[in-house]
Amino acid sequence: MPETETMREARRVMEICNACRYCEGFCAVFPAMEMQRAFSDGDLTDLANLCHNCKACYYACQYAPPHPFGVNVPRTFSLLRDETYRNHAWPRLLARAFARNGTVVALVTAAALALVLLLTGWLVAPGTLSHAWIGPDAFYRVIPWVAMTGVAAATLLFSLLALGIGGVRFWRASGGGVPVRRGDVLRGLHDAVTLKNLGGGGHGCNDRDEAFSMARRRFHHVMAYGFLACFAATCIAAFEAYALGRPAPYPLFSLPVIFGTLGGIGLLVGASGLMALKLTADPVPAARRLLGADVALLALLWLAAATGLILLIFRSTAAMGALLAIHLGVILALFVLLPYSKFVHAPYRTLALIRNAANSADRVQ
């Protein structure tokens, strides 16, 4: 495969950084960089995915544009990560989804919505969507249990498979790794779930401009843990439905509703906050071309939460049928798109952090 312009630029930038090293206190990228004197494509892919895009190094850089050296690590690494996402998408054919990701996400979401609405219309008697269903298993009157569970399980399993294959390909392409011990995995996971590298040593990152702030880290936490809470709500609900024979909907003070509500609010707050930061931030250290992909995933997560909460509020009215169909359409789109949206940064970054933990442990010895 011929070397891309982005890869060449990443190499040029890392060679400048490696001769300077002023930024080594900011995050894991620079100490990892200092392990090398020359950078293979795999090294650069690894470093790019280790980068959390905090932009501290851009504002501290005496070689940032308009200096003739024009060093812009966050932008260069954002573009290189996008190449990683394309290169490791499975099946290969769908790598194109990353080319105009914003449009792809929007279209898939619209298609999923239409599909669920049509299915509910066809599979169940006319009038289903406008009837005020209440009581146990009301949801399944709108969408039959088999359809809902079958589609959900199939999509999720396919997405997990695609993410897994992408992760394995990424791990191999970014240099394999030193032997990884259990402690390295735990440390890598710890760094991932705490977003340690967005801490900048305790004072935060350059979310919008030269000023340091913890806003992005906090919004990301709220969003990510909101997502997990929603996922937990779904799992608990599934358990109650299949193991205990208590189908949805659940009362307000039940575990699925509490987790789902808190998670939904987290997703709304986190995604809104991240979106606001993205749209008001200094555009120079960002890759303009990737804005669509960034915004699309945030918008999808926001929609998933918003439609879920609206459904909760109006679930005992005549609007429930339509709201349920819309919510499930969005969720379907989200699951389908997991491996073909910016969501893939989560497994790649985590793997890069695990490798970094292994390499650092190696360095200490």
Binding site: C23, G25, H67
Partner: protein, 460 residues
């Protein structure tokens, strides 16, 4: 309007003065010659500050007391210092890190490869530009008015006081009035024409490591008005850097640490100095002058594969070749002459135990000039070459100040409303040589004094 305090310059010393004056209640305007993207003078390229401490403090380990600090300064300056001002600066440097933290500067443990500075110097997280960003943000928050793209052309110094400050601001003439003025506009190292007065045409081949805005306009203006000068005008701090560096602002990445492990030849492919005289940190700063004295102000470090990984590379790729003759061709040297130099050197190398980290016993015998340490034969391809040129860091010429940072006239009387801080007055204390992080210490200490005094004067 008449400003209480006008600060000329936009680097560390200027910012410390502006922030201090504003915190004392003065109205402050700061004039930065550079556009916003290149603000901060040479402070952008710095990375630490040398701070006295009698106990471990923050990132500073162990103890670094006044006596040791003073000894270090005395050693590098060879006595070209003012003991009173120097000791005062050293003592005041103990307070600097806390003040810096309070104004947004973040510190980190010493950078890798600079372990020897972890005890004496506090490193700025992200380096000097991060510090400059923090100070500008603090100044803006406090309400200091900042004018970028504003070059001070001259001060109207009349009857012992500054009456007005003339500038070109974003292309237009602008005259400002202030009760107090702080000159923190740096040295003149970026003014090639001025360097040429002492170095002749050689100056055209100098590379300026830092900001192109250090033109020395205010310094020259003040000296022209009868202000007393300090420091040798002909002297500058010069190191040997990669000759491929940009003319200005190449900064840290163009430095080359390969000299002790190489032989260095001039344009005629002859050696001219003992490359292994002492450990590199102690000889780092003499090679700029050595190269400046060679024909064409250029030299070439020649190494072989054995030495390729013993030093931090510069940002530019090593020039490699399979033979000495081929390398000479790539460097533009006479192949036969370089082969002769290398073979004579190789023949004079005595066996020894090579140790890159210590003054080892690998040396030449019967060679002039000798190489007294780390001398190993150059015989293993690929052969490597780096071109070297003098890289000018700063100049020593400055204005004479009192311990309250007040500028003195040649008649010994202070200018009533003019203070100086930073490189423009560092020659009072560092008349010669170099001590890592000391320039930032002087700038911080005198910037704060100048700002406080200027504000006090304006308030009276």
């Amino acid at each position: 309007m008449v400003w209480d305090v006008l600060v000329v310059g936009g680097g560390n010393a200027a910012l410390c003065a502006a922030i201090t004056a504003r915190e004392a209640g003065a109205s402050v305007v700061l004039l930065e010659h550079a556009p916003r993207a290149f603000r901060g003078g040479n402070s952008r390229h710095t990375r630490n500050l040398r701070a006295m401490h009698d106990a471990p403090a923050g990132v500073l380990t162990d103890v670094y007391g006044e006596a040791e600090y003073w000894d270090d300064l005395l050693r590098v300056t060879g006595g070209a210092t003012d003991e009173h001002l120097a000791r005062m600066t050293i003592r005041a440097s103990a307070d600097a890190p806390a003040w810096m933290s309070a104004h947004g500067v973040n510190f980190q443990p010493s950078l890798t490869g600079t372990l020897n500075l972890g005890r004496t110097n506090a490193f700025f997280l992200g380096g000097g530009k991060a510090l400059v960003n923090a100070y500008f943000a603090a100044a803006e928050r406090l309400g200091v008015t900042i004018l970028y793209d504003t070059e001070v052309t001259d001060l109207e110094l009349d009857n012992g006081a500054v009456r007005a400050v003339n500038t070109v601001s974003r292309g237009f003439p602008l005259t400002l009035q202030a009760r107090s003025v702080v000159a923190a506009s740096g040295g003149f190292q970026a003014n090639i024409g001025w360097l040429r007065e002492y170095w002749g045409e050689a100056a055209d081949n100098f590379i300026i490591r830092g900001t192109p805005f250090a033109q020395g306009t205010v310094l020259r203006d003040l000296l022209g008005h009868g202000v007393q000068q300090v420091g040798d005008p002909a002297q500058c701090h010069a190191v040997a850097i990669d000759a491929r560096a940009p003319k200005f602002d190449g900064g840290i990445v163009t430095r080359l640490d390969c000299v002790p492990f190489s032989i260095v030849v001039d344009r005629a492919a002859w050696r001219f100095y003992d490359e292994g005289e002492d450990v590199w940190p102690k000889r780092y700063a003499i090679w700029g002058r050595l190269v400046a004295q060679r024909q064409g102000q250029i030299a070439y470090a020649i190494l072989d594969a054995k030495a390729a990984k013993l030093f931090m590379p510069s940002v530019f790729p090593a020039i490699r070749a399979g033979s000495i003759a081929e390398l000479a061709g790539k460097l533009g040297l006479d192949p036969a002459a370089l082969e002769t130099t290398v073979s004579r050197y190789n023949a004079s190398v005595r066996p020894g135990n090579f140790d890159s980290a210590a003054l080892d016993d690998c040396r030449t015998e019967g060679l002039d000039p000798p190489k007294t340490h780390w001398a190993r034969t150059i015989d293993t391809p690929p052969f490597i070459g780096y071109p070297l040129r003098p890289g000018i860091t700063f100049t020593y010429l400055g204005v004479k100040v009192t311990e309250r940072a007040q500028v003195l006239m040649r008649n010994g009387r202070p200018v009533a409303n003019l203070w100086a801080s930073g490189e423009i007055m560092a020659g009072n204390i560092l008349g010669k040589g170099y001590l890592a992080g000391f320039g930032m210490a002087i700038g911080t200490v005198f910037g704060r004094i100048a700002g406080a005094e200027a504000a006090r004067h304006a308030g009276n």
